[in-house]
Amino acid sequence: MTWEAVTIAVWVVIAAVLAALTWSAERPESSVASMGAAGRRLLARPAGRAGVILLWMWLGWHAFAR
């Protein structure tokens, strides 16, 4: 197995866990916050909001400009 295959496989596993967590958290009896609720909790704090906005700016710059 090549390093490329291993690396991509790990990314696929991370994506699958993320999808499963999203699905699981949306169930009414779940003790885990939904992705939206977790995001809102982060954005409720000024520092969290500033950090997420800075990350959003960097993502755009990195993907589309540099």
Binding site: T2, W3, E4, T7, I8, V10, W11, I14, V17, L18, L21, A25, S30, S31, V32, A33, S34, M35, G36, A37, A38, G39, R40, R41, L43, A44, R49, V52, I53, W56, M57, L59, G60, W61, H62, A63, F64, A65, R66
Partner: protein, 139 residues
């Protein structure tokens, strides 16, 4: 004041239509730009400038509802699983970034680049980036 059939002020609906049209234009433009070019820089800088100006205006000036922050309660439930999966993803990204060649250790940027090399893929990812930015500033 004139209202639409759903009871919204006509001016607000008009503004939403203009914002949507500008957004679609920006997405189409972004699809045909390339990194390390002036147009590529300009389209990202314009989106960032627009978003930051909305953030500054929030709470200082009356804005249409779709640009205001929502007053939704954060909600309950644990966030530990989200923190753990985010830490794992960041750790793996840093590990891949520190190794070479990139083809053997693809980072998320590298994988995203396989999509954004095509005009339609680039436009789609730019649209997702704009929607993400709008979702962040209105929460």
């Amino acid at each position: 004041m004139a209202t639409t059939r759903r009871g919204r002020p006509a001016g607000v609906t008009g503004l939403a239509v203009i914002a949507g049209t500008v957004g679609i234009g920006a997405v189409a433009l972004a699809g045909v730009t390339r990194p390390f070019t002036d147009p590529g820089d300009a389209v990202v800088a314009a989106a960032v400038a627009l978003l930051l100006s909305i953030v500054v205006a929030q709470g200082r000036a009356p804005l249409p509802p779709f640009l205001r922050r929502r007053s939704t309660a954060p909600g309950g439930g644990g966030v530990t699983p989200w923190i753990v999966i985010a830490a794992i993803a960041i750790g793996w990204e840093l590990f891949c970034w520190s190794r070479s060649p990139r083809r053997d250790h693809p980072t998320l940027s590298y994988l995203l680049g396989l999509i954004t090399v095509h005009d339609a893929g680039r436009a789609l990812v730019f649209l997702a980036w704009l929607v993400l930015g709008w979702a962040v500033i209105t929460q």
